[in-house]
Symmetry: C2
Subunit: 223 residues, 2 copies
């Protein structure tokens, strides 16, 4: 069985209960907030809210940020099924960005997990706009996890951008190719964009998630 | 043998080489930069450089930030012994902040590891000012890891602030008690200060690391 499609909360190895504290807070926030845009995912989404792109642009879209550092596909699936998406008003758009932490899964497993999350979001929020940024490369030098994320992206682009594969699930789902032009000609990633070769600097967020913001604005305007 | 006093680099479980990339970059940066203040530690130091406190105040002290997310005491010890502290000019002050990731160690082991790092810094940089902020509490609710960090702090304060324990090692080392007034009367930690009950928000950095900045300014002025 593909572990990515089984809703799971992470084992609290350390024992400080932080993940569940964040989940419980998000459930409470969902009940009492009336966001237009919901962002959910791992640390890259979580830290977005401390970037200048967030302060200067994204926050004005009336957002809620449900990022949790270290989250895997199955953790986001669990959160969505357990109260974080029970909003009192209609949500206009969801940004879904998760997968790079599923380092022990195959690209197809990760892809299937993302499809399962999309299905779940549609069940709960109806025909909402769903924006899926492609997974980012990681590591200063080429490594198997860059390839893995690239393969996930190939599946995502094929499923959601290829007319031949359109079905009920793909409706109103938009993949934004943010993974391009990050790796340099010498195959390395600059720390000016990704300070630890995984997470984005302020400059990185502006360059890379700027595309997500532009897509959101465009889609919200025409919706 | 206490694992905290054995210089160790972390196993690259994922296989994307990010930790070693960061270390190698820091070694190169050390060689070519002429910082007055060096900050070294884990993700809390690493993310400090994306806070408004950093931009508005700390960066003006002519700093280099050697924070690596997830770092343990023995990893910082390894980095210092392996080139990150080989600066071409005299460093005035070091801020050392690590220990919360040693969740499987005893408070005394963590404390001894920090002493070992102090010893190593003094060997390499001479009688530099060393500022050690106390470890922060973690987890929304009381848990054993808050107590563990508190015990480390008790050892640190006793060693470096108690006149009776002064020796060659404690000279010019200053513990800053940043751990106080974070946990509320109801024993919880607010997400307005620690967004994930471990890492600091912008507001949290200003409130908590503001004390470190003030101490640094004071010590640098009188040095």
């Amino acid at each position: 069985m593909n572990p990515c499609v089984i809703p799971t909360f992470p084992v609290d190895i350390v024992g400080d209960g932080r993940w569940m504290s964040m989940h419980n807070r998000f459930v409470q926030q969902a009940k009492s907030s009336e966001p237009d845009v919901v962002l959910i995912g791992d640390s890259i989404i979580q830290q977005l809210q401390f970037s200048s792109l967030w302060t200067e642009k994204i926050s004005s879209l009336h957002c809620i940020n449900l990022g949790i550092g270290g989250d895997r596909v199955e953790n986001v699936l669990w959160r969505i099924k357990n109260g974080e998406f029970y909003f009192p008003t209609r949500v206009k758009a969801v940004v879904l960005f998760v997968g790079t932490n599923n380092t022990d899964c195959t690209p197809h497993e990760i892809f299937e997990g993302i499809l399962e999350i999309v299905k779940q979001i549609k069940q709960l929020l109806g025909n909402v706009i769903i924006v899926i940024p492609t997974l980012l490369p990681r590591g200063q030098f080429p490594n198997p996890y860059r390839e893995r994320n690239d393969h996930v992206n190939t599946f995502l682009v094929d499923k959601f951008s290829n007319e031949a594969n359109k079905d009920e699930l793909t409706e109103n789902v938009h993949v934004v190719k943010i993974h391009e032009n990050i790796v340099g000609n010498d195959q390395t990633i600059s720390h000016h964009i990704m300070h630890d070769y995984l997470h984005l600097t302020n400059k990185g967020y502006t360059k890379i998630f700027g595309k997500v913001y532009d897509t959101l604005c465009e889609l919200l305007q025409t919706s």
